[in-house]
Subunit: 426 residues, 2 copies
């Protein structure tokens, strides 16, 4: 099955916003083994949209359209789609009612322009929108199936998961390929080629495929299974995932959309433990990521961004003698920072970062990319040394990932950080 | 002049990376008044690429192609472009020499596969790549001008500015429209429609246009001028920018790619002052943004992320009586946080945030979106109250923007924060 993703809106063509819907849609389609072959974007222009609809129908089996479903005059996706394929627009009363209710819930008056959003192409199947006013639509036309979704990412992803992907899965089945099941496993700490070597024999089984891709600083695995029935597919997938988990252990931190900070947060809640951080080279990124998770105040005590050495002394109690003897970028200082954060923030666990992110500040002994991560709990502290070969932004990102992952591993009873980029231990 | 942007690469179609090149290219083209009419992406597939090249030549005047210039077998942009328009591939000796020198500088052996990168379509003009191995190419073919650039954003943007845009500007001139000049002015603190009302009379002058767009939480202005000569255009643009600056004053924080944290950093360096931060609701984002700027260690002392109330007391010295009397989300606590950060971090200036980012934690008196920002310098401290109507991620972002902007304004001798979303002062 070949898919085309078509996003609509002047703001995209003016470069005002980065179009994240395309990669989001493509990634989700791949989970269902649907390959996106083309991506296009056009303005809110009837002529350009008509061309794009025709072309997409001619070269793809399924076309995901995002944008142009709003109430303004620019929003003409349904109108143009209907006209392109010789359909009328018909009012869909339940959708009109849903839009009215949406405004009533917000205590606001519905504008007459919102009525337009309930005019859908004849023969289309309505896709309800639980979080906005614009309903979507599935329409078979010109030899392809069109799924029209709103451009707002939050609405798009909800409707994609609830309405589009199940319909696509159902369509894939009659083609004689049986039922397909897939899951995305998120890993951190092992290179893509090593992962592939480690697991390739698992994909030798009939009906099992294994996809790999890098998403810095992580690597994702995507086991895909096929079977005759839903139950068989689910059982086969569970078996494959179990085999992968057995080999990779804590390298896998989450599934599908779960971020490392979410996974860590869930573990902290489950264990009833709190966390504090002390950051130098990550400059606040670690605290930012932890606190970006809604509800983080249940387990996140806070952090100290000790950029200057004075701050390491004053706010974290790092002894001047340590700083003088080893320098701020050293294992003893990383340990002292973690201990200081744990104590002063009153946290059960603490993690720290100190390093040279670049582009400047490196020396022959302490080059750009050298980072120490420290960890402290009730049993004491330790630090690990890393050497990363990236740039400033990625040094910060991978360092924050190592730190979060260390805490996660500690909560799982693992005593070592992931070996990738590891240089030493102290 | 109609432009089409065509990005090439399997990784785009699999959704593995968000394609930021498209918006970057479109935004830059617009500065030269070139409208992007179509955007497409195709796999590293000769057939799909041929179709895309033909279609682009048929509907656009200028086609910007990114990707497929690397040394691997997948990288076939030049080969397919040449074949599509009946050209041969010819070896470009100076480019081959440049690639050899690139590897020599890195002290690495050049792989034979890199030789391919110097095979360019006959009749094309080479666009040198100062930061990578892949040269670009300009080719007139099929009624359009193609500019082929590498997919790596850092290389793409360098070559775009140095090679592509000057050539485009030269091509725009003979069309009888004269010389065009534009600049992007970045503003924070006034809504888009208010800005438009404030400035619209400036666009009444012949040869002057004014574009507006929102880029949350900022609004961007783009004055565009036309004149017969370069000198006249430059003078006209300078006059328009001066008029805009006179009206908007400190609402404008930067030009073109300059971020607020960069603008603030440059001011701190110029004044020889240091900064510290105390964060609650922004959770580290403020420190992260400040320290993301290379060289920030010259002026950034560090920060305290005081998520828990204990941390506000212990690390920032916020008195328990203040917390008990007013609650953590209050003007007195914001002030005490800024004062504590200034003192404990030994900084000249400090800024603080405390608020309710949501989605939970709101009450009737202190709803989600309520934020206090505090500021302290040698003269004392103050705080402002804001009520934002966004979601968790945007509450954090806009709060960090308000805080950075307050420090910037203070350094410019302005005593008030921008009025947008402002609720009160304490």
């Amino acid at each position: 099955m070949r898919a085309e993703i078509l996003t609509i809106g002047d703001e995209l063509l003016r470069g005002e916003i980065v179009d994240t819907n395309k990669s989001l849609l493509a990634e989700r389609l791949l989970r269902f083994d649907v390959e996106t072959r083309f991506q296009s974007s056009v303005c809110d222009d009837a002529g350009d949209m008509t061309d794009a609809f025709r072309r997409a129908a001619g070269r793809a089996d399924v076309v995901l359209v995002s944008g142009g479903l709003g109430p303004t005059r620019d929003d003409i996706t349904f109108e143009v789609l209907a006209k392109t394929f010789g359909r009328r627009l018909v009012r869909h009363e339940p959708s009109l009612e849903a839009i009215r209710e949406f405004f009533a819930r917000l205590g606001r008056e519905m504008s007459p322009s919102n009525e337009k959003q309930a005019l859908l192409p004849e023969g289309g199947e309505v896709l309800p929108n639980p979080v906005g006013t614009a309903p979507g639509c599935m329409l078979e036309a010109g030899g392809a199936v069109f799924f029209c979704l709103p451009g707002v990412p939050r609405e798009l992803v909800r409707m994609l998961d609830a309405e589009v992907l199940p319909r696509l899965a159902a369509r894939l089945r009659p083609a004689g390929r049986g039922v397909m099941r897939a899951v995305l496993l998120r890993t951190f700490g092992m290179g893509e080629s090593t992962l592939e070597d480690e697991l390739k024999d698992l994909a030798r089984e009939e009906g099992v495929a294994l996809g790999f891709r890098s998403a810095f600083p992580d690597n994702y695995l995507r086991p895909v299974v096929r079977a005759a029935t839903e139950a068989e597919a689910a059982a086969r997938l569970a078996r494959v995932v179990e085999a992968i988990e057995k080999r990779l252990g804590p390298l896998i931190y989450g599934r599908d959309d779960e971020t490392l900070e979410q996974a860590l947060g869930a573990l902290l809640v489950a264990r009833g433990l709190t966390l504090g951080v002390a950051e130098s080279c990550t400059g606040g990124l670690l605290a930012e990521r932890i606190s970006a998770v809604p509800g983080a105040s249940r387990y996140f005590r806070g952090g100290v961004v000790a950029y200057a050495n004075d701050a390491k002394r004053e706010l974290l109690g790092v002894p001047e003698t340590l700083l003088a003897a080893h320098g701020a970028v050293s294992a003893p200082v990383a340990r002292a920072m973690a201990e200081g954060a744990r104590e002063r923030l009153g946290a059960d666990l603490a993690v720290s970062t100190t390093g040279i992110s670049g582009p400047d500040g490196g020396t022959p002994e302490k080059p750009v990319g050298l980072v120490f991560v420290g960890f402290a709990d009730s049993k004491g502290s330790e630090a690990h040394e890393f050497l990363f070969p990236f740039d400033r932004a990625r040094h910060r990102l991978v360092t924050s990932q190592v730190a979060l992952d260390w805490v996660r591993r500690a909560l799982l009873g693992e005593t070592r950080v992931a070996p990738r980029w590891l240089r030493g231990r102290a």
